[in-house]
Symmetry: C2
């Protein structure tokens, strides 16, 4: 039964909307029981599960006037799929909880779900369960399950002498966010990068197979995530400014906003690029660029010294 | 580093509070990697995972003036553990996301986590991951993973001729909620039942082993959940009023509020009792009471007719 185009969540009703939503989520062969029972049942082949969870809150993690419902769906899925990528794994199943105001258009929830499903399809993962409830603001809660074909790559394995390498666009989403925050909509490529990040989904597993010693996805900023690697591994990390070619759109935004474009690359998050360490340059797979070195000690430096710019996002 | 007693979430900071929280969550032997990396890694023995997710929103699912932070933690864990119970399974791992205002006392979050951990310990499950972020109101997002020692019991297996049986307190939490809603705090046993439900965690697996044909947990009301069983199984269910002994505290509340106390039993949720069908009375395990019959047809009746009272909770 199709919903009227202007129906709100409250008009659609919980169970009516859930029935509509479930049609958007195809189920993989590993899903023995999908959405609709007290729990989903998944067949697990490798003897382990890799699991991660994330929250997104309206006005804090997304704005409905800056991104379409489908974009928000893509982002919500991407940031969770990226966590499995950063372990060197492949995601297979997700649950999604949506808390939202009763007057939210039901079409927003359906478009969100469509974007979410599209992003999951990029890695062949299934949405196997969820929850829908009323709240004053939109809160999206995602949990992702995956598997690894070899030992998961942790944050804690970096060793002095390792090289630090980056894979994927970095700083583009932060540039897009800065542009939107000033009321602009271009450069469009940056705004699109913010609205729909493109995590390098194949790269995590390949890095694990190539012997990555530690890995993390950049959701809160390159230097902030490098600090997590350094702390968990008990090492020092130095990042080299000169390793980064500043792409033209970031140069343009830097010029327009009077900012050093490198701050988007070093401080920006949300692209979900991967940061990993390898024993030597020879181990670094194609597509990765070496951006720093691991040494004995602690902390993160840039060209051997302190970095004064913004270095990441805190939630409180 | 202990937090000052009056610290807010914002004073404590995201990473400081997460470090405190992690100390509250002991990790089971199956947890190869616990909280703190991009994802947790779990060893899975049975070749499958049962997974479910739920949201709780302040003012809608709980009130801070009606229940302590520890109570809310217990309830948040219980309602999710109950979903695994209703499959005939045993929960082993949970993730918990907390979105909360910056001025929420950090102690509230810590007490919530302590209650959550205590409830998980009742079934030997570990909290393996989470997320913490700012929001205008408190939203709690829980995902639970478990396993079954035999085929999961679905909602769809009830057959005409089966008997319907109930295990666990039913109507107590609804009675407690009605009392709190009128500004009272007694009968205390009902208020406590609302604040900390006691799902019959051992009963789900035993029912599965006894051959339960269908099973569901009662979170939204007995008749509402019976309707889910009837719809998913393609059968009719008749519930017998006379099967229920009305416990004294519910009689007292009914008298005080001028309500039929049976409406708490038939319409109330939140106790997380189990409702299941069995092929015959002889299959029904100890501790369960037969409360109805399954027949060909559709819909749920009470003593063969329509029920006029409130029958459950909808979220929009």
């Amino acid at each position: 039964m199709p919903l009227p185009p202007d129906a709100s969540l409250s008009d659609a009703g919980e169970f009516g909307l859930i029935a509509e939503l479930e049609t958007l989520f195809p189920q993989g062969e590993h899903v023995l029981v999908g959405p609709g029972d007290d729990a989903a049942v998944l067949r697990i082949r490798n003897g382990h599960v890799v699991v991660s969870t994330d929250l997104m809150v309206e006005a804090r993690h997304f704005r409905r006037d800056w991104a379409s419902a489908e974009d928000v769906g893509h982002r919500a899925a991407a940031q969770n799929l990226s966590d499995i990528n950063a372990m060197g794994g492949t995601a297979h199943s997700l649950t999604v909880g949506l808390a939202a105001p009763a007057d939210l258009p039901a079409q927003w929830a359906l478009d969100f779900a469509r974007g979410f499903a599209e992003e999951c399809a990029l890695v062949g993962a299934s949405v196997v369960g969820g929850d829908l409830t009323r709240a004053d603001e939109i809160v999206i809660a995602v949990t992702v399950l995956g598997s690894c074909t070899q030992a998961p790559v942790l944050r804690s394995g970096a060793q002095p002498g390792d090289v630090l390498a980056l894979h994927g666009r970095q700083g583009w989403a932060a540039g897009g966010l800065a542009v939107l925050g000033r009321g602009f909509r271009s450069p469009r490529v940056l705004v699109e990068a913010y609205r729909r990040p493109e995590p390098p989904y194949a790269a995590g597993r390949l890095a694990a197979e190539a012997g990555a010693t530690a890995m993390i996805d950049i959701s809160d900023g390159l230097l902030a995530e490098a600090r997590h690697l350094a702390e968990e591994s008990g090492v020092a990390i130095d990042v080299r400014r000169g390793a980064f070619a500043v792409p033209e759109p970031l140069q343009a935004v830097g010029a327009a906003l009077g900012a050093d474009p490198l701050q988007f690359i070093l401080g920006g998050g949300d692209d979900h690029a991967l940061l990993a360490t390898f024993t030597s340059v020879a181990d670094v797979p194609d597509g990765w660029q070496v951006v720093g070195e691991v040494a004995e000690g602690e902390g993160v430096t840039v060209d051997g010294g302190d970095y004064e710019g913004p270095t990441g996002w805190t939630h409180f």
